[in-house]
């Protein structure tokens, strides 16, 4: 049991280390890569060639004249200290930009994913319960229809309809300009008004597939022997539905749920651009646009860390939630 935790932790650390190395490689080694472009850009701007190395060092924590392993050591050690370099575009430390933006992205995406998941489970359970009815067929069709739209395309539709055509909700930003005091009801309402459209676009486009998989799981479980036996024992429908079916149907979706949060935070790059919502995705897009490599790589590292942590938590907690799962396992090699 203990060796499982150790292995799992080691794998997470290994993943993060590999991603850091990958970003370092992309920054440093690729022909025509970021450093070459940055150097060309600085030369074009007429910066004194003697100063260029110093500027590059301050932006990226790299000393171009040093051997590659020293550069690598510098890069990794400054990352460990939380120093991700300085953004070209904003002229601020990347860590400060990310620190400001990350909570907003996490707020929107976690709220959206949790709500979507809850709705999906409920909807799927009702569909399974009324299998073959008109409600079931209509719901199945609707959930398929919902998943034909990419979330960001639905986001565009929402902005146009609710933002511009009807004018009910703001079309950009995290908060309105005038509101400053963070501990008032007005502020909370304002934050929600800005977040509701991004959240909606995630829910509407993803809930269908969740509901369908919940429906599939439940229908399968309803045919299981122990559910039949429970019926024969005369247990109340409600008890069977919640204790016997729902629990087991939700289980396989649990890991999917945590990974989905990670995926959605990755998807924030497109979504936040559509809603001009300054979370980390928005800054990553701006960095991509301006070829602002320190910011781009910084956000990429942060998003990766979030996903790695989400998967780590999912793996560690799954065996707690589902006692049938034995960590590790014996497998003979052929």
């Amino acid at each position: 049991m203990n060796s499982f935790y150790i292995k799992r932790t080691a794998r997470s650390v290994l993943t993060l280390w590999l991603v850091v190395t990958l970003t370092f490689g992309m920054i440093r080694l690729l022909p025509g890569g970021p450093l070459v472009r940055l150097r060309a850009q600085l030369t074009r701007q007429g910066v004194d060639p003697g100063e260029i190395d110093g500027i590059i060092e301050s932006y990226q924590n790299l000393r171009p004249d040093q051997p590659i392993y020293v550069q690598y050591y510098d890069y990794v050690s400054s990352l460990l200290l939380g120093d991700m370099g300085q953004s070209f575009r904003y002229g601020e430390p990347v860590a400060a930009i990310v620190g400001d933006a990350l909570p907003w992205t996490v707020f929107v995406m976690v709220t959206a994913t949790v709500l979507m998941y809850a709705l999906g489970v409920l909807w799927g359970a009702i569909m399974a319960y009324k299998e073959g009815s008109v409600f079931d067929s209509v719901s199945s069709a609707l959930s398929i229809l919902g998943s034909t739209v990419p979330f960001y395309v639905f986001g565009i539709v929402l902005v146009i309809v609710f933002g511009y055509q009807l004018g009910w909700l703001p079309t950009r930003g995290r908060t309105s300009v005038g509101i400053a005091d963070p501990y008032t009801i007005d502020f909370a309402v304002d934050v929600l008004r800005h977040a509701v459209l991004p959240i909606m676009s995630i829910i509407v486009t993803q809930v269908g597939l969740q509901a369908l998989s919940m429906r599939g799981n439940s229908i399968q479980l309803l045919g299981e022997d122990y559910v039949r036996v429970a019926r024969l024992r005369g247990l109340a429908d409600r008890r069977i539905a919640t204790r016997y079916v729902a629990r087991n149907a939700i289980l396989p979706m649990y890991t999917g749920f945590l990974t989905l949060i990670g995926f959605n935070i990755g998807g924030s790059v497109i979504l936040e651009e559509v809603f001009t919502y300054p979370g980390i995705g928005y800054y990553m897009f701006k960095a991509l646009e301006a070829r602002d490599y320190p910011l781009m790589m910084g956000v990429f590292l942060v998003i990766t860390s979030v996903l790695v942590i989400a998967l780590f938590v999912a793996d560690l907690t799954y065996s707690k939630i589902d006692p049938r799962v034995q960590s590790g396992g014996s497998s003979e090699a052929y």
């Binding site: 993943t15 229809l145 991509l288 497998s331 052929y334």
Partner: protein
């Protein structure tokens, strides 16, 4: 005693191979088993029927349509024509006089290439990693699983974006592979866990005892069993490629030299004033419909195929079995919920 035993076993084996069917018989069996019956079942299911018809429309659009219909160019028609007004530009024109329908049609071939290359790359790679890891077990499994786990924990979209910026690819086939650069990992894990049960099946064990090579066991005994699952996931991967590529083109991260519906969306959203409702909404709606319908085709195909490969449904519809199984609820195994 021992000797005769092994001899009798040997003769048993040869007599078995004498029973082998002729080539034409095998061909017709193959046709019966892999084309006729699945086709019949596929056609009987409304989802696959609509899905394949829709897919056919896109294939026709990407092959014949491109040759028949004109290439989009600015000022090829009067500017800002509303849709359904003239036959010259049935879906209207943009502010710079580009035919909207021409843009949609000519964006299809690169999209089809992307779907094919991305889907093929993701599924073949996943099958290779998943089957070998699951079947071999031991240290091979550990290495491959760790590899897949690491690939899985790197967020897809940001990774693709960074790679797209660094490599700046213009070839649609390459873009397809780039988009699925770590999509295969989840599928490989799922395939591995299916193989873990398959490897204990008696016929696989029999092959193993007979000393059949691992390669042959994998190809002959193991992989055919997971093909249905792989095909369903090919459709899912294809949908992911559509969504991701449109997103990348919409953001302007990929070079705009390749035509894509995402570029159209971007132009409509930005330039055409579609936002303020100046009557240019159609420029946004038509590329959106193109994306939705191809996604619908792929989802319907995936869900329908799930049933096609359900052996019970298949034999019943092909008229071989008279048993009246209650139609088992289509257990749609929707595990990938990307985008």
């Amino acid at each position: 005693m021992k000797r005769t035993d092994s001899e009798s076993e040997f003769s048993f084996e040869t007599s078995e191979s004498n029973l082998e069917v002729s080539r034409s018989q095998r061909l017709s069996d193959f046709y019966e088993e892999f084309i006729y019956k699945p086709g019949l079942v596929a056609w009987s299911d409304w989802r696959t029927r609509i899905g394949s018809l829709l897919a056919l429309v896109y294939v026709l659009m990407g092959t014949v349509g491109v040759m028949v219909y004109r290439v989009p160019n600015s000022n090829q028609s009067p500017r800002s024509v509303q849709p359904f007004q003239t036959l010259e530009a049935p879906l209207g024109t943009t502010g710079s006089g580009v035919d909207v329908l021409a843009m949609i049609i000519h964006a299809t071939p690169p999209m089809l290439v992307m779907i094919l290359s991305g889907g093929l790359f993701a599924t073949t790679f996943a099958v290779a990693v998943g089957t070998v890891a699951g079947y071999k077990g031991g240290s091979v499994d550990r290495v491959l699983t760790t590899f897949a786990d690491i690939a899985m924990s790197i967020p897809g979209l940001p990774l693709i974006m960074v790679l797209a910026i660094v490599f700046n690819p213009t070839n649609p086939a390459l873009i397809g592979i780039l988009i699925t650069v770590n999509y295969w990992a989840g599928l490989a894990r799922a395939i591995r866990s299916q193989i873990l049960t398959l490897r204990e099946e008696s016929y696989v064990e029999a092959s193993r005892t007979m000393g059949v090579s691992t390669r042959r066991i994998l190809i002959k005994d193991v992989i055919p069993n997971i093909m249905p699952y792989v095909l369903v996931n090919f459709a899912n991967a294809a949908r992911y490629v559509v969504f991701a590529s449109v997103g990348l083109y919409y953001l302007g991260i990929l070079p705009t030299s390749v035509r894509n519906w995402g570029i159209q969306l971007d132009q409509a959203y930005r330039n055409a004033g579609a936002l303020t409702g100046a009557g240019t909404l159609y420029q946004l709606v038509f590329p959106m419909l193109a994306i939705m319908l191809i996604a619908l085709a792929l989802i319907l195909l995936a869900q329908g195929m799930d049933r096609v490969f359900n052996p019970r449904v298949r034999t019943r519809l092909a008229g071989e079995s008279t048993s009246v199984d209650s139609e088992d609820g289509d257990e749609t195994t929707v595990t990938e919920v990307l985008n």
